[in-house]
Subunit: 350 residues, 2 copies
């Protein structure tokens, strides 16, 4: 899956959904492809900057229409709602963008290219509808050809949307800063938009989930260290199958466990409490070890909802409880986790 | 998913693949829809009966061509190969059947209706191409509306193709013989062909696996007892994601663990040993209990590869080891497992 043929200049669409949680695709594209994002379209936020609204992106402006936006070649759908459907009010904006000759990049489960009205307009204008979740994965996992000299690190979590993608990216970037040959492997629509390739694992036909991830690893295992983005959670009643298929497909030797301070119930299932972090850690190690000797090497704490003092106190508490490195990759930096990756590398390959 | 609108008379196609393992779809359709199967087409087995070749079906004949077969309205593809592709040599036979005005029922991942040549021929003849794996499941699991007065029993296994479907069917039928309101819920292409409805879970888009199964349960929980067919295994590197999505989607209170005597390595992964049965039991209970209090209530032993004395000895050994009821549902009958289901029902609802 690639959305990288041309040099992109994006307008990111978040109309009516510019809370950081709903607009998580927008936030990550702005964070990691900052220079390619010219503006964000949400008429309710017109006149503000992305830094003010989404806490990322500096002076990138919100605009209230495509006509008011800087000239760009691509409209990027900046939300990832449950079930992946296109909000009805966005249809007119998408059609306008097509009429202006812009390509459309979308990570929704409902493919733009399968929509007769969008497809007809796109054909008329000669623009591309790029559905990053679309795939034709048809390979079952076979456990053949995994290299012993490539370290596979996988980010897992206690719930959805807690930082598994950003942790994998931040640790990858830190390892690169130290001169290591590390590569981030994207497994979700946002990660694919950020990295330019990957496998949209939650949209693969179920039988081929592990096979698609195995193929992704096989294609990239000439790198020294792979950091494979996790999805969902082993305790999420809707997504645990994706989580396990991914975990077994990439057969990691090390896991980084991600969680958000204050998250108590499972996303989308209000009555269901998330088990304690120690139990999440145990479940992940039990299931990972079915495929490959593996352990959790560190904890990525998402502390966005608490102040610095509370985050520091929690960090020490978890460090003591679990006897593992702990950090918030934004607040504290990813250094401790990068250290843990390199320590595991020594151990596995010594 | 339903393939039940008309009264079916089947020719089952197994051309060149009439070993019981390869032809497991054929075997189950012959076993459970015996009166609807008029003949099996495999030119290499011409003149023999299905009882001789597949150990099921009595005097149903093998034929060497459609021209030599009794008049039937449907050709049913009787194999379920890894990856689900149509053997090249079968294309001519399928086209002949279409030309003769027969509907085609297929459980392959490669949909017949998406094949331009088959689709054109079908349109010309006005026949139906019924791809039982095709689905548009788009609902995530929400854990809303599960009834407390419905007992959900799920069959799980130590590997693929060990008897999870037949165990669920045989226990359902035994409960019905005892006057209980039990219903088999099919989750694979063969089960759907046998039962006439169900969810082809391994062909659902990964994000919606648990949701599709939850919906299936919600549609049928007016029954007293549901027996939900399992798929794959939590330790299978290709299919564990499907297995867990299904396990969490149906949230069973009881599990029946199925295994085959003599199966030592994982199907399709020759070098990988299957963990001991006690470990498979532990993994399934650990993961099931994330959703719902649940335990393994009995063991379904598939003893087809050993003689009666060896099967009896193994049965006693496993019974002693695991302190659970154990039976081969064909050799010993499913009574002990039906007893265990009713005992759990008393316990859960008392």
């Amino acid at each position: 899956m690639s959305c990288e043929p041309v040099s992109r200049k994006y307008i990111v669409l978040t109309e009516g959904h510019s809370e950081p949680h709903a607009a998580k695709t927008a936030c990550s594209v702005i964070r990691y492809r900052t220079s390619e994002v010219l503006a964000v379209l949400d008429s309710q936020q017109h006149g503000r900057t992305t830094q003010e609204v989404l806490a990322v992106g500096g002076s990138i402006p919100f605009v209230d229409s495509l006509a008011a936006a800087p000239e760009a070649n691509t409209l990027l759908i900046g939300i990832a709602p449950v079930g992946g459907k296109i909000p009805a009010t966005w249809r007119a904006i998408i059609l306008q963008a097509i009429e202006r000759g812009m390509d459309i990049v979308s990570g929704l489960h409902d493919f733009l290219a399968d929509d007769p009205e969008f497809a007809a307009a796109a054909a008329r204008q000669g623009i591309q509808l790029i559905d990053v979740r679309r795939n034709r994965e048809r390979q079952v996992a076979e456990r053949i050809g995994l290299r012993d000299d490539c370290l596979r690190i996988h980010t897992v979590g206690h719930d959805c949307s807690v930082g598994k993608m950003v942790t994998a990216i931040e640790v990858t970037n830190e390892l690169k800063r130290r001169g290591r040959d590390a590569k981030f492997l994207a497994t979700g629509q946002t990660g694919i938009m950020v990295e330019g390739d990957g496998v949209p694992v939650d949209c693969v036909v179920a039988d081929f989930v592990s096979g698609a991830i195995e193929q992704l690893v096989l294609r990239h295992q000439h790198h020294e260290i792979l950091l494979i983005e996790g999805q969902g959670s082993l305790v999420h009643p809707a997504y645990s199958g994706v989580t396990l298929g991914l975990l077994h497909g990439c057969a990691p030797q090390g896991l980084i466990l991600c969680y958000e301070i204050g998250r108590e119930t499972i996303t989308g299932v209000p009555g269901m409490r998330i088990p304690p972090l120690s139990e999440i850690l145990r479940l992940n190690e039990v299931m990972a070890n079915v495929m490959c000797p593996c352990r959790v090497i560190g904890i990525a704490m998402n502390s966005r909802l608490v102040d610095a003092a509370a985050a520091a106190a929690e960090r020490e508490r978890v460090r003591t409880d679990l006897q593992l490195p702990v950090c918030d990759v934004f607040r504290d930096g990813p250094q401790e986790l990068a250290d843990a990756v390199l320590k595991l590398r020594e151990e596995v390959f010594s």
